[in-house]
Amino acid sequence: MNGDRIDDGCLELRALLPAWIRDELDETRRQEVRRHLAGCAACREQAAETDPSVLFLGLEGRPLRPEFWQGFDAALRARIQGEQATMAGRLAGWAERFRIPRLAYVTIPAAMLLVVAGTLILSRPGFRGPGHPPVASGIPSPYERPIVPRAGSPAARPEVQGTLPAAWPIAGQASDPPALEEVGSAAARVYRFDGAGEDPTTIYFVVDETINF
């Protein structure tokens, strides 16, 4: 390593350069070549013709003068003592100690559980968010007691005369007025049309103003 002059060490190194550039040398030889290149500008220049990144080998750190560190230790000590003294510093140290990845094994599954639980709650039938009562699905529950129609409710009326046009369904034939079925709802009415003629199919016609499509 002689800066600009070439000696036997340089010649030996130059024979190893192709293998060094391909990173095929064992660790000891590789370190020898690197050290030589870091200190020998002539060899570095030669190697740079093939691989110009050797230019940066000359940047290896050198010992620094003590003045460079003046104030470094004192400032560091002051910061450490400041951290120890203040609550914020203690909290920062505490947070640092329990920082990810230590908690990652716990927080990630916990977060996933929260997401799944939240999704299940929000997707529950009839759930409209907190503060809103659940909406009945309209499907009678088998656990509810049967509804008994109250006296005077529309369901109690025996029949409705003339409220619906007698247009059922076979033209030219006089049809019977529709029969009113008894249902368990105060708001709904169900009319039954009995088939006649060739098509005996019975048709039910439901009227319920509370249904909102």
Binding site: G3, I21, D23, E27, R30, Q31, R34, R35, A38, G39, A48, E49, T50, D51, P52, S53, L55, F56, L57, G58, L59, E60, G61, R62, P63, L64, R65, E67, F68, W69, F72, D73, A75, L76, R77, R79, I80, E83, A92, G93, E96, R97, R102
Partner: protein, 190 residues
């Protein structure tokens, strides 16, 4: 005192042991940070931040673990963060006056100028490397660590480190050719 004892005592809260650890590692930490950020003042700030972070987390260090690898990993993370955050706002400061000359034959001023220029170019081009490529190149090629040591710092295998180095060299070569052709290899006429 052995390094392991020093680390153990520092982990138990012994400030004196911690100070000794700082004194024995601060130059390496500074230079690693310097190669990454390309600025001496910023590198010194990063070094201080590294040791402050170390003080906070040294209790987490597992006995028997590789302390240096752990410390240099912290250094790389903080230096890369600092480079991303600060470099656009800073002008590189000269180091020639602070480093002890290792090549007394070269005229100090010219050598310092040349080194500063190369350092600036490296900082510029290294910003285009991936974090692991940059770290592998800095630790092994510039700081002279062994492939095994670099693998320990990066938490990977030696063959992956070699791969990172080869990729880094290729990208640096391309970057030099494109942006600093005066440093790129010249094709010689046959």
């Amino acid at each position: 005192m052995q390094d392991a004892d020093l680390v153990q005592r520092a982990a138990e809260g012994d400030l004196e042991a911690f100070t000794l650890l700082v004194e024995s590692r601060r130059e390496r930490v500074f230079w690693i940070a310097c190669h990454v950020v390309g600025d001496f003042e910023l590198a010194r700030d990063v070094a201080q931040e590294v040791f402050l972070r170390l003080f906070r987390v040294i209790r987490r260090f597992r006995k028997g673990g590789r302390f240096d690898a752990w410390l240099y990993r912290i250094t790389l993370h903080l230096a890369i963060d600092a480079a991303r955050r600060e470099r656009p706002h800073r002008q590189a400061a000269p180091l020639a006056d602070l480093a002890e000359g290792s090549e007394p034959r070269a005229p100090a001023a010219a050598e310092g100028l040349r080194e500063r220029e190369v350092r600036r170019i490296f900082a510029d081009l290294a910003a285009r490397l991936g974090p692991k490529q940059r770290a592998a190149f800095v630790l092994r090629e510039i700081e002279g660590m062994s492939t095994g040591e670099v693998a320990a710092v990066l938490g990977t295998t030696e063959s992956t480190v070699r791969n990172h180095i080869l990729q880094a060299r290729r990208l640096l070569k391309e970057g030099l050719s494109a942006r600093f052709p005066e440093y790129a290899p010249k094709t010689r006429p046959r």
